[in-house]
Chain length 181, copies 2
Amino acid sequence: MERFRIVFSGSGGQGVITAAIILAEAAVLFDNLTAVQTQAYGAAARGGSTRSDVIISDTTIDFPKVNQPNILVCLTQEAYNRFYPIIRPGGLLITDQRYVRTERKVDAIQREIPLYKNVMEKIGKPIVHNICTLGAVIGMTGLVRPESIMKVLEKRIPTSFLEMNRTALDLGLELSKAFKK
Amino acid sequence: MERFRIVFSGSGGQGVITAAIILAEAAVLFDNLTAVQTQAYGAAARGGSTRSDVIISDTTIDFPKVNQPNILVCLTQEAYNRFYPIIRPGGLLITDQRYVRTERKVDAIQREIPLYKNVMEKIGKPIVHNICTLGAVIGMTGLVRPESIMKVLEKRIPTSFLEMNRTALDLGLELSKAFKK
């Protein structure tokens, strides 16, 4: 497989680190891949931006840092402003329509998706925004199977929250259909 | 400051990834340091071992992978068996007495601490085992201030759980006193 370098970015409360960890675990535990997941904290963290990197591959990964992601997810304007220049040419840039106004052209496929809007309208709980985002990412890229994400969630969260997370994941998958690469 | 390379290891449900993330966030957000936090998933993850790496420094960190930790925490026998050979000579090896029997001599300070036992006796909730462990780690090393850990927890968990986490952190700090480097 192609090696996927993904950066999830947003603000502290949006669950981007959790999304990255869930994706990495799904890839390794249930899709037989190799993954490395990193948070580099620094000035960005103090400024309120959170960034979480995942590399997914079917071979050994020696260098865990993502310099140029081929998939960049930005859930806030600040994260977008900070990270859009690093996207790999020909990559995929996913932003949330509610939070990000994309102003520059990048040499990448650019997808503005109403993730937050749909989560609030159809589920009403901002806490699953990250899972919906994950659904859109895997829907557009085929990185891991939705079932693998659900198996990770089953290990991580109480049964009573599973249904809501499943709905959020499906919502992201559904929203991604309009934008399939 | 010396550059600290820490590896937390254990099994899936023990919260070692969370402990690593909390430590990294505390260092960056409240102690003005730089941190990188990584999970490398692979065969170990499928076998049930979880490993989470943190590097803490007061300067830029270029290479985020920990090859030889100077602080290695092992919360299961399997994690100990797998990772004890990588400890940096002169480092600090912390194991939980309940889960790990240390059989080999390593060129490091070796501390077997009854973390789990004390958590169960004094708090009764295994979920804060990782926070107690974190208390012991910072108590022995002075890596970050306990207040910084609490500030991260205040951002992450519901108010109703804060008290229990504070107790677990204090318990770890207390237990570490007997073993201060």
